[in-house]
């Protein structure tokens, strides 16, 4: 059973992700090369990601792309000062003693590389001006880590390290989007669509015949699935002087896993069951609105996007809302046609981090991001067959961010609702053997992997090639 749930999720391509792969690495060869400034100028199936209404004018056909990531994002943990160790004082304490942890606290200096296949289709429908599209991102077969995490000291019992909240394994997941658009007039187009994610409800029945041998358990499971759709909508308005304005909205979408275990312990539960429950949100992409402007004089095309992302609704993988901040982000892109068959592209963008200062109990790691990109497109024609080839390179810098936990005069005992750095062993915890407080419980004892702080930064990048027929 311990392998069942991960297997199911991997089969469906889901991963502990907090962002679409397109959010991090761009969508389509042209879009990625132009800094994702495409809300008013998308030309293919990637319009579903940038602005669904632009499907109406998108070139029909099939596109196939491959991409891969590289880079070195880093989280370096500060050295722990002496005197804050968590002692092993047995059952009176809920805290896991330092000598009992499974994994040592360590830095995060590797990123699981991502490779993927993008498939896009744009096709005309029955009415003139009406077109439909599908955009799929498939991670290529490779091991994918599925995990939820605690953002505080509880994570020490598991990975005992920090992870980037919006990177790492984040984009390693299936992305499926579809929609249609209609050219209402020569100057106005509208589009609507949906992004899709599955959801799961897993109930596991567990029977322990020998309660002292918990490795020997009889297990059954009931698994229900659900479908989740996030609205995509957009408008495109063509203005005089080759100016186009685009408006788009992407609603939030989440992959949630509800798990429950019903435990029966031979000789103990006596006809009843012990229930354990967890509500995970391994994937949450917040809602986003964007406005874009494109101007295409002669051989040039210039575009700019301004996006507003509703990070305040964000749920972490344990289903908690950490109170992130809504942020504006922006990007600029340009394209220059050097000939009838070749175009050069470049772009840049900046996205501030929505994660507030982590000087308290939680350890959400995130950085401001600056990206720049370049690429090109080439058109090949053989008879009546026209083939567009596009490629891009995109580099994203994670601007250095140092975090230090705040020092307090008194640290509250860790518990629900506590937001500051907290004490895992209450000072007044009494030793049942002596009737006196544990001397080693005085002061602050914390195994929080983010204590006393860290620095994060580095860079990540992607490159890809796309064929459009």
């Amino acid at each position: 059973m311990r392998h069942l749930l991960p297997t199911i999720l991997l089969t469906l391509g889901a991963a502990p992700a907090y962002a679409s792969p397109y959010d991090v690495y761009g969508a389509g060869a042209r879009g990625a090369a132009m800094g994702s400034a495409q809300t008013a100028t998308a030309t293919g199936a990637e319009a579903l990601y940038f602005n669904a209404s632009q499907l109406a004018a998108a070139k029909t056909g099939l596109s196939l792309g491959v991409m891969a990531t590289f880079g070195r994002p880093q989280i370096l943990l500060k050295e722990r000062p002496d005197g804050y160790e968590v002692p092993d004082i047995g059952p009176p304490s809920r805290a896991l003693g330092d000598d009992l942890i499974v994994r040592d606290r360590e830095d995060t200096e590797t990123q699981k590389p991502l490779a993927g296949l993008t498939i896009g289709v744009v096709a005309p429908l029955v009415f003139k001006g009406l077109q439909a599209g599908v955009l799929v991102f498939l991670p290529l077969p490779e091991p994918v880590t599925l995990s939820t995490r605690f953002a505080d000291e509880r994570e020490r019992a598991f990975s005992n390290r920090l992870e980037f909240e919006r990177l790492g394994a984040a984009p390693h997941r299936l992305d499926l989007e579809f929609g249609l658009a209609y050219e209402v007039t020569t100057w106005l187009a509208a589009g609507v669509g949906a992004a899709y994610l599955p959801g799961f409800a897993v109930n596991t029945g567990v029977y322990l015949a020998d309660t002292t041998d918990q490795a020997d358990a009889d297990l059954n499971a009931v698994i229900d699935t659900e479908n989740n759709f996030g609205l995509l909508a957009g408008l495109t308005v063509k203005l005089p002087a080759d100016v186009v304005v685009g408006l788009s909205f992407r609603d939030s979408i989440a992959l949630r896993v509800t798990t429950s275990n019903d435990l029966q312990l031979n000789g103990i539960t006596d006809g009843e069951v012990i229930e354990q429950q967890a509500n995970w949100t391994p994937l949450y992409t917040p809602a986003r609105g964007a406005i874009g402007v494109a101007w295409s004089p002669d051989k040039w095309s210039f575009s700019g996007d301004l996006r507003y992302t509703f990070w305040s609704t964000y749920e972490d993988s344990q289903g908690d809302r950490p109170g992130f901040t809504n942020v504006f982000s922006g990007s600029l892109g340009t394209e220059y046609r050097t000939s009838e068959v070749t175009a050069l592209r470049a772009g840049a963008g900046f996205e501030p981090s929505p994660v507030p200062t982590q000087d308290g109990r939680t350890n959400y790691v995130d950085n401001h991001r600056a990206n720049f990109s370049f690429g090109a497109g080439h058109t090949l024609q053989a008879g009546e067959t026209v083939l567009d080839i596009g490629w891009y390179v995109r580099i994203q810098g994670l601007i250095r961010r140092e975090t230090s936990k705040a020092q307090l005069d008194n640290y509250p005992v860790c518990g629900e609702g506590v937001q500051t750095l907290c004490d895992e062993i209450p000072d007044d915890l009494v030793d049942p053997q002596t009737g006196r407080p544990f001397p080693e419980a005085r002061g602050l004892q914390t195994g929080n992997p983010g204590f006393p702080g860290w620095v994060s930064g580095g860079w990540t990048g992607s490159l890809g090639v796309e064929l459009r027929y």
Binding site: L76, L77, E79, P81, S93, I268, G397, G443, V455, W459
Partner: protein
């Protein structure tokens, strides 16, 4: 491609350096644990003996019980006032501490305020053959009632239902019986229990008796705050592994004197820090119940 190479080289030089922490090391003064002191230079059990058992003794009882296939060790400390007449003994007990080892990861803790509420019923008297080394000792019957009142304490059945009139809210917390805590949780278990113990030992030193015990415990869970705490597994005495030791602590017969404040009365607060010196606690082991 050259541009890509330049980009990668530039970014490769962006590697972070670990900053130092500004969090100071934590240094704590000595807590002063164990500030209860005894008077005199004697150690437990030492001395020439007082020629009688009359006086104050400290007893630690380590009882083994099997809960299904796991062992539970009950470690209890008693303050005993004994009056010896000829060879018979009138014993008055006061429970100072009870600790139960975890079973299946759950550890029941008996809060200190509950201990004085455990009712000891005098049933008979103990006796001693001799107070010299190798003399034998048989205790009076230790009959204790936990959260119940029985008309015939020795023979009536222990109630199983919370609304049984024999179940009393001894600790006045609004719940039936006595309330025990489950360590590391907010869970509470409500207990109705009768324990009957007799101790058999011999003088190994003039002021020390070592021996074994026979225990019969009838314990029923009459409620709990959560279902997991209300499990009521079958208990089986494991007397071959149950031991006790009692030592004189009133200074008579050159024994140790635990009347730390010198007020002429020895209290649980004064003896509690010394209980582990009488019998060191041992870990429970499922092997003892297989």
């Amino acid at each position: 491609m050259r541009s890509l190479t330049i980009c990668i080289l530039l970014c490769s030089n962006c590697a972070l350096e670990r900053p130092p922490t500004t969090f100071p090391a934590q240094q704590l003064d000595d807590a002063g644990a164990g500030d209860a002191t005894s008077r005199g230079d004697a150690s437990f059990g030492s001395g020439s003996g007082a020629g009688t058992m009359t006086g104050t003794w400290l007893q630690v009882h380590e009882a083994s019980t099997c809960v299904l296939v796991d062992e539970q060790v009950t470690w209890a400390g008693y303050l005993m006032n004994i009056e010896q007449t000829d060879r018979t003994l009138v014993e008055h007990r006061q429970q100072c501490e009870v600790t139960l080892s975890p079973v299946f990861g759950l550890q029941v803790i008996i809060p200190d305020p509950v201990l004085p509420l455990i009712k000891f019923v005098e049933v008979d008297q103990g006796f001693v053959s001799s107070v010299l080394e190798s003399g034998t000792y048989t205790s009076s019957t230790e009959l204790s009632l936990w959260g119940i009142e029985l008309e015939n304490p020795l023979t009536d059945s222990v109630p199983t239902e919370p609304d049984d009139p024999a179940v009393v809210d001894s600790d006045g917390d609004g719940n039936p019986g006595l309330t025990f805590d489950i360590v590391g949780s907010m869970c509470k278990r409500y207990i109705a229990q009768r324990s009957i113990v007799r101790y058999f030992g011999r003088f190994t030193k003039p002021n020390q008796i070592d021996g074994s015990s026979v225990t019969v415990t009838d314990a029923n869970v009459v409620g709990s705050s959560q279902a997991i705490c209300g499990v009521d597994p079958r208990l089986t005495a494991n007397d071959p592994l149950s031991t006790f030791r009692m030592v004189r602590v009133d200074g008579a017969g050159e024994s140790i004197d635990l009347d730390a404040d010198g007020d002429g009365e020895i209290t649980c607060d004064e003896v509690r820090p010394h209980l582990v010196d009488i019998i060191a606690r041992r870990e429970s082991s499922p092997e003892n119940c297989r």
